[in-house]
Symmetry: C2
Subunit: 331 residues, 2 copies
């Protein structure tokens, strides 16, 4: 590994001072054309690349860098949010460094990002303590989580009102027994299944008199398929299903095909997320849709607010984004 070519080497080769090199390369004036040409040539000859570290260190306007932890690149929900966030960040003059918490765990991603960025945004399901320890002083903006986490900022999701509305609407359409397919995420993380807040909301809203028809599966198309089969076997009377997310709901529709169950005639299927992918399946997927662009915009609002106070510790900032029902064909 050869030693780095510095501005000094270029200056030496061109027979000028370092500042002259700076002038030539940054297209500043106060430099003779001929000198400039010579410097540029020397720079090209040596394959000189200014150090981005030195440059940023001395830059008057520091590059503002945002760390983004993407939970999964296999679930379009997360990648679409990442896309929205990236666009929004670019328009507000933020660089984005991404890390995936798919293979590693999310605190590992956080720990890796924290020394590199001014602030981290992402979906985090770990305990407050673990986040606190991994963030190492860098402010964190937590997305989607419905509980309020002290010490971090958040853009929360109001799914509860969407779920409530959905239950009413499903009943109005004639559903008598509504089941749910939940995520088994907690089970995979800690070997203990804890119902998701989506399920907790669902069970509270559906009322105490109702039979509890719920199963949990992996957050994927396949997981949704398996869970649907399990649900229908255990609770054949179910005529409507709320599914943890759209990906699993698409899996459920797929499984319904296989089981020869007509959707929505025999069973209504309703997802959560609002993925455009839902339009590609038959029947098209009805869903509780999350306004991802607003979510991204709110997250950047928090980030800008924090930047304005130089990322000092401050009272948690909190935003809430609402969801809305998107009726297509499956429910």
């Amino acid at each position: 590994m050869a030693k780095r070519v510095t501005i000094h080497d270029v200056a030496a080769l061109a027979g000028v001072s370092r500042q002259t090199v700076t002038r030539a390369l940054n297209d500043m004036d106060g430099i003779n054309d001929e000198t400039k040409r010579r410097v540029l040539e020397a720079s090209a000859r040596l394959g000189y690349r200014p150090s981005r570290f030195a440059r940023s260190l001395v830059a008057r306007e520091k590059t503002r860098t945002l760390g983004l932890v993407v939970s999964s690149f296999r679930n379009p929900y997360y990648t679409e949010i990442a896309g929205d966030l990236l666009d929004c960040a670019a328009s507000r003059n933020w660089q984005v460094i991404m890390a995936s918490s798919e293979s590693a765990d999310e605190t590992a991603a956080l720990r890796m990002l924290s020394p590199q960025v001014d602030v981290v945004v992402g979906h985090f399901w770990s305990s407050m303590e673990r986040i606190e320890e991994a963030r190492d002083g860098v402010p964190v903006v937590v997305l989607d989580r419905t509980e309020h986490l002290p010490g971090t900022h958040s853009v929360e999701l109001d799914l509860r009102s969407g779920i409530e509305e959905a239950i009413h609407a499903l009943r109005a359409k004639g559903a008598r027994s509504i089941g749910m397919i939940d995520s088994d995420y907690s089970l995979r993380q800690s070997s203990v299944y804890v119902p998701s807040s989506r399920r907790r909301d669902f069970e509270e809203l559906i009322g105490p008199g109702q039979p509890k028809a719920a199963v949990a599966g992996e957050e994927s198309i396949r997981g949704g398929s398996l869970a649907f089969v399990e649900l229908m076997r255990a609770h054949p009377y179910v005529d409507a299903v709320l599914v943890f997310n759209d990906l699993m709901a698409i899996g459920a529709i797929h499984a319904a095909h296989t089981l020869n169950i007509k959707v929505p005639e025999q069973v209504r299927i309703l997802g959560i997320d609002g993925l455009s992918l839902g339009e590609a399946v038959h029947p098209t997927l009805s869903t509780i849709s999350i306004d991802r662009e607003t979510l991204a915009a709110r997250a950047l609002d928090v980030v800008d607010t924090l930047a304005a106070i130089n990322f000092a510790e401050t009272e948690p900032i909190r935003h809430v984004v609402r969801s809305r029902l998107l009726w297509r064909e499956s429910a």
Copy 2:
């Protein structure tokens, strides 16, 4: 915007030297516990955050940063590659900065990334000259492109052999007239439609005697649907269709449902990409599958090779990744 808190301020408040602050914060030894405690407290009081710029400038092992240009966050093909690349990069000790070329154009993304990173990886469809100008000396690794671009490194895709094999297999299964749905990407970029290399390969391989049944559409589910309708209207005799990518192919299957055309009985549909999503539709999508993990690994191989020579200009490095047929139900 308050002035930045530096190591100096912490040192002053704790009544020690800057070096002692460094020792305390970086958990180095050779420091009194009591002093350490005092420094840590001062640091916390001031909300001190070490400058990542200064730190990287002086670090012996420079952070190696790779820029990744993601063409679209709405097409799982690109996000899945991004995920693979991110994992691969992390395991080889590379930081990744991402930019999307979805809303902006790709040279803008390249221009934004180039001062921040050591090397850029991504899908680029612009002309050599535009890339050359935007990269500003930073080495670029171009993915997927089948033509050989002088001056940039590349991981190319051998789709031709996959397409050839597919045509043989479709004919063996009884297809008499194979059509194609192409991407109209070039049309959107420059108002002139230029057949993609996939289409050029297809037409060469299908032989000169064959009728040319091809239409072009947007690279999306919807675009695939519209194109399929158009294709079947213009060329009703077509009994097999090769589609530019899986997303469009899923759209085509969707449209076939709507048109009441049985897949694969009446028309066989074959995509390109190998998205796992293809398993979620009915019938499941047959496809020419690209080994994304190998693609990611090859790209990182190039990157590591370049790092070893300190990113000096060098002869273009070139890898080729093969594709393979993945028969599911639609063809």
